[in-house]
């Protein structure tokens, strides 16, 4: 693709075509096409086993698709097929231009490493070698995610669930990624803690123009954060569109069931 084509502000950031994943004969997901632009927040909703987490893993290259392609517009503007990236390129992408906020903080954090070290790791991985600068940047990010700098040298085992998730966010955003994957980032948290986290995510998304793919079973989370929504059932996308349109005027029986099952989403 020519530079001119790809550098248009309207060029998509992430494109998936015909994605499918089979675990043996069991279907993970199939026939998924999606296009994500810079600054766009896409929610993938559905119940357990609907294939939404599989899809997230395919998009984020954690799983290799059984069929289909995922491509991404790199920072230099070039659209690359992610399957064709070398492992080194893929990792660089994962720790610089991408983030991944996981449901279980212990999978997204180094639990035995201090909060500051958790945030600083990506910086050190991309070559930062000045302790004072790393520490300052980490401290700034902790403040941003509302973690007191006094807790900087404590490890996340001593943190509450909400703090751990906020720490994960700081750890991911410190390299200013353009795309962040989130897998049920608020589930398992108390309602008030959830609200605070959602608000923080919303602010950061806005401030940094992040593109986000968020998997959630919570329609209220999708409503609050996302521009667009994809409803998955039995491994397929059954309905998609503007978030408020899909939630306020659901067309598919399953989506109507989902929407009617929650209180004031």
């Amino acid at each position: 693709m020519s530079q001119e084509m790809t550098s248009l502000p309207d060029a998509p950031l992430l494109v998936a075509e015909g994605l499918a994943k089979y675990y043996g004969s069991r279907l993970g997901c199939r026939d998924v096409d999606l296009t994500l632009h810079a600054g766009e927040v896409l929610a993938i909703v559905g119940e357990s086993g609907s294939g939404k987490s599989t899809l997230l893993s395919l998009l984020s290259t954690e799983l290799a698709p059984s069929a289909g392609h995922v491509s991404y517009r790199m920072r230099d503007g070039e659209m690359r097929d992610l399957a064709a990236l070398s492992e080194a390129e893929r990792r660089l992408l994962l720790r610089t231009d991408w983030g991944f906020v996981r449901q279980h903080a212990e999978q997204g954090l180094r639990m035995a490493v201090s909060a500051g070290g958790n945030v600083g790791e990506r910086l050190m991985a991309v070559g930062w070698r000045h302790y004072g600068n790393i520490r300052q940047e980490a401290a700034d990010w902790l403040v941003r995610v509302e973690i007191a700098t006094e807790r900087m040298d404590d490890d996340p085992r001593t943190f509450s669930g909400g703090m751990r998730q906020r720490l994960q966010i700081a750890r991911n955003l410190v390299t200013r990624p353009r795309l962040v994957f989130m897998d049920e980032p608020t589930s398992g948290l108390d309602v008030s803690v959830q609200a605070r986290l959602l608000d923080l995510i919303r602010q950061l998304v806005e401030e940094f123009g992040l593109a986000v793919v968020i998997v959630t079973h919570d329609l209220a989370v999708a409503r609050l954060l996302s521009h667009r929504i994809m409803v998955m059932k039995s491994g397929r996308v059954i309905e998609q569109g503007l978030t408020d349109q899909v939630l306020d005027d659901p067309r598919e029986p399953y989506t109507q069931l989902l929407v009617s099952s929650v209180l004031a989403a």
């Binding site: 180094r110 201090s114 070290g117 600083g120 790791e121 991309v126 070698r129 302790y131 520490r135 040298d153």
Partner: protein, 302 residues
Amino acid sequence: MTALARTASGMPAITYNFAYLDEQTKRMIRRAILKAIAIPGYQVPFASREMPMPYGWGTGGVQVTAAILGANDVLKVIDQGSDDTTNAVAIRSFFETTAGVATTTRTRDATIIQTRHRIPEAPLRAGQVIVYQVPIPEPLRFLEPRETETRRLHALSDYGLMQVKLYEDIARHGHIATTYAYPVKVAGRYVMDPSPIPKFDNPKMDDSPALQLFGAGREKRIYAIPPYTRVVSLDFEDHPFAVQAFAEPCALCGAKGVYLDEVILDDKGGRMFVCSDTDHCATRQAEGHTGSMSAPYGEGQP
């Protein structure tokens, strides 16, 4: 190549191959060593054998030494810088018995030096081989428990994690508190655990004329630093690597700029600092150097 020993009754004793290991095993180990030399700092897996000593007693180093030992070699074995501690004595006698090679305590006379936790003070020279006993060869192990992942990190030169460990040191202690097994980068490529030598010894690895081999028996890894290879200790720009400094010279030989052991003299707080490298200390004393607690007339010294 067979070392025969006879019992007092003249009956043939159990016969061991030269240097204990069979020739096929030695070849296998030599191949691993060659590969390790070819890829400085890279951990080469090898089929570590059961040795007649427990893991942790230097089985990796012993296998490497056995594989490179020739009949004309002169072997020195040190443990924490000392030639006369149990581990050093046992391994030295092991090779005296199984290979019949000459042994020495003199660093400069040795062709092969097997060591646990030190590099001799006397500079090594070209042609010498130093064999390190290694308990845990993987420098990333305590940060990343998965072997598959650490291998991948090495393959991709993805060493941010190593830096995290040093960061944690400074965050918790105000300085890099790692004082031994201090990670190094070899030839600008692989990050390597130098075995639990004090970081004081790290600069000696850099650009050394000697061949440096590392053997981990339990973990089944061999790695190497070829002669004259760049070995850099990891650090931060604003917290540069620095070796330990000692306030006083050796109490026995007056040596400065060497690594000292603290020796407790009594239960009233009395103590002294002496060279950890016993050969170095003895050589200096023989040359007439004295320290603050030297015996007045050179009595009691070998």
